[in-house]
Amino acid sequence: MTRFIAILVLLLFSFESFASSAKIQNVETKLNTNIWLIEDNSLPIISFKIAFRHAGSAYEPIGKSGTSNLLSNMLNKGAGKYSNLELKKILEDNAIYINFTLDKDNLYANLSTLKENKDKAFEILSLMLTKPLFDKKTFIRVKSQALDSVKKKMEKPNYIADLRWIEESFAGHQYGLPTRGYPETIENITIDDLKKFMNEHISLSNAVMSIVGNISKSETTSLFNQYLSKLPVTPVEAKKTDCPGIAYIRQLPEGRTIHIKKDIPQSVVIFGTNGISYADKDFYAAHIMNYILGGGGFESRLMNEIREKRGLAYSVYSFLTTMSYTSLLKGGLGTRNEKLDEALDVLKAEFKKMQKNGITSDELNSAKSYLTGSFHIHLDSNQKLVDFISFIQLEELGIDFMAKRNNYINKVSLEDVNRVAKRLLNPEDLIITIVGKKL
């Protein structure tokens, strides 16, 4: 039991004045692709990440939703001369961790290894990305595991509410489909679908690579030359796909409230509206605005009004998120069924209030102070650093971003925040989905 649940996604948006010791180096490779490196020799371990752009669930063929998830679960099930079991034993014996994860935009390869085992680790990763076995029996198993896992998710109120939210918000767009598919679309997927998806989407040409830990520039280069250069270099085009609906979403559909009936004591609410992209001049103003609205834990207005003053919820939060083709301001809360209307009223009133009256200069200063002071604390491990520099690359924020980021925050004025609040915080625009008992 904890006092409150920190929402992990916040971490991505709380990067700040960076510890001087961590400096990003650009390692150029012979194949015209780069690896960003932070050398940190304090521990004998290394974390590595590849983001394959445009290999996420939004690029799956129609009716085959769940393809990229199945692919990510098949890639580490045997490769080259190693059976799945042999591979797993080598990884465990050498304390190497390799997994594949995904979101709607990208598919990620994640690797952690002890320094001494780095060659073995990269050899295996390279094999997984070039010679996965795609064994038939394994595929049947992986598919039934993926099906069960999606069915378990569909039991959870939060998942149900969030799925309905994306279905409503992105109807007709690939973003409106669940990242891991529906049970019925998973059933449709074949091994050939995975192979095709892999051929079209896994390539060095769309790979964004990051490495952090006990490794030098020259060691990074030689790992690349020896192992990763074996990956295909065929160009991957974002739109070279047989799925429609990959267009930029500038505006979500009109606001609405949808109630999904479920016999549970607590109504689970997901809410959201249009967000803001990094390229927008008001991004950092919005970042500060969100911290004050619902991003800053106990210091946020939503937490104060909904939880602390009225005891309506344990958890209430908001966050900004960016995807390749849209950006969102989203959030959630959970409240006992009989208090749902009151909680929603307070939520909308807080949107209205900040839109109309803006924030105070005290709030602005506190937000700046937190956001500029907490950065290095949120980047306390190789793992977090590698995720972070991968994110900087994907968002194309620049190799000097860490040094500049503080200034971006500090430059924001009260007027900037109030202007962006006017633009984003229309309570009428909120798309709200609720799972709970309707009273």
Binding site: S47, L85, R141, M154, Q266, F298, G373
Partner: protein, 444 residues
């Protein structure tokens, strides 16, 4: 070991040997004048510190009928004190670029912050303030009860599996305090009062019942002088540690069914009582950690190979075991059976595999692999400011020594095949269990 004029400073080295390589970190351990224990885990990686204060007071210490008070009280610690307004604690941490939170378990309550190193004195002064000067008022208790009820709704009452786990723990622990959930029973939470909170505070919140853990970029001398200044003068009180009753073996096995129409895939859960590092039978704990890895730790494990790969009975299977608790622990299994596979088949297959290990032992490579994985986890745990602080703090607060953790990897290395067989016999042979079936339909 270095001794200073006033107190002993114990320096330990956590050493993990992995395929011939040695990783070591230094741990410093000493006591303040008033008895408060301090642990220092140095790390220069980022100019920040993690500051944790652990109290040897958790849900197990609650008076009968007052379940949830330890956790509710943890929430109240963020309220008004004699010198801080309501909410000022967290606000002060936040404006200084820090994060804070807290947690409650059966055995302990922990309050923690991560912040730039220059603010160590500030967080100590805040934490020391609420150790003794909290002001509990009626309205905040009432409001916080509403919040905790929502927390319970979210974690438990909205979730059929969590409800099943609660019932299973009650059946397993019977009249032992661990039978009661940490968050408390709903009716009892609702009836908690300001006096209950104050009683809990006065009984347990005192420097001689607390452990300070500081990890990060700070020297032992800095910690010593700051800790003496902020915590060393706090008044101690007489603490009577509650003794856990001896838990008798289960007299019969029990099956608990939980049905809920929202369940789309059935689940199987099983609990066996197992020794903890502080309960009877604790010589088996390291062997049990290794056994859990061999039986149900990932794809190479015995149960996964047999039940997922060979016999196609389940899509998911695993086991778990945690030795760090005051009272008896749980050796647990979970599985997602394939459609049409009977729960009974899952039970008998797990039992068969356990008997197989007891009878035929385990191959050397499986033992070595399991030991490697457990030791590697310890190496990776050093990546991050707080991880080691939590590992050491939890163990010491529970009643173990810093040395217990420091020597843990070494003890794991020494576990033999026979140790595992003896440990398996100890917890499984002729022992009963509590099994939970989670289904979508009443008659599934």
């Amino acid at each position: 070991m270095i001794t200073s004029a006033k107190h002993k400073l114990l320096i330990l080295f956590l050493i993990v040997c992995f395929s011939g390589n040695v990783f070591a970190i230094q741990i410093n351990n000493f006591h303040l004048k008033n008895g408060m224990e301090v642990v220092h885990i140095p790390s220069k990686r980022i100019p920040a510190i993690a500051h944790l204060v652990w109290y040897k007071a958790g849900a197990m210490d609650e008076p009968i009928g007052k379940s949830g008070i330890a956790h509710l009280f943890e929430h109240l610690m963020f309220k008004k004190t004699e010198n801080l307004a309501d909410g000022e604690f967290s606000k002060t941490i936040a404006v200084n670029g820090g994060d804070d939170n807290a947690g409650t378990s059966q055995d302990y309550t922990v309050y923690h912050q991560a912040i730039a190193k220059k603010h160590l004195s500030l967080v100590m002064s805040l934490e020391a303030e609420r150790m003794k000067n909290l002001v509990v008022n009626k309205n905040s208790v009432k409001n916080e009860i509403d919040i905790v009820i929502e927390e319970r709704n979210m974690r438990v009452d909205n979730n059929p599996k969590a409800l099943l786990r609660e019932k299973m723990k009650k059946a397993l622990y019977r009249d032992h305090p661990y039978a009661t959930p940490v968050i408390g029973w709903k009716d009892e939470i609702k009836a908690l009062t300001k006096d209950d909170a104050l009683n809990f505070y006065k009984t347990y919140y005192s420097p001689n019942n607390a452990i300070l853990v500081v990890a990060g970029d700070v020297t032992i001398d800095q910690i010593k002088s700051l800790a003496e200044k902020h915590y060393g003068e706090l008044e101690i009180s007489k603490i009577e540690q509650k003794h856990l009753p001896k838990l008798s073996p289960l007299e019969k096995s029990q099956i608990i069914k939980q049905s809920n129409p929202s369940v789309k895939k059935s689940e199987f859960l099983r609990y066996y009582l197992a020794p903890s590092a502080l309960s009877e039978g604790n010589k088996h704990t390291e062997a049990l950690s290794v056994l859990s890895q061999i039986l149900g730790g990932g794809e190479t494990s015995r149960l996964y190979q047999k039940m997922v790969m060979d016999e196609h009975l389940v899509t998911k299977i695993g086991s778990y075991y945690d030795s760090i608790s005051k009272g008896e622990s749980i050796f647990g299994f979970y599985a997602i059976p394939k459609d049409k596979v009977k729960f009974e088949k899952i039970s008998t297959t797990i039992e068969e595999e356990i008997r197989n290990i007891i009878k035929n032992g385990i191959p050397k490579d499986a033992l070595t692999r399991a030991q490697n994985i457990l030791k590697a986890d310890f190496i990776y745990a050093q990546d991050g400011l707080k991880n080691m602080a939590f590992i050491y703090g939890r163990a010491i607060t529970t009643g173990l020594s810093a040395d217990y953790i420091t020597k843990w990897p070494e003890r794991i290395s020494k576990v033999t095949e026979d140790d595992i067989i003896q440990a398996a016999k100890y917890i499984f042979e002729n022992k009963h269990s509590v099994t939970g079936f989670l289904t979508g339909e009443e008659n599934d």
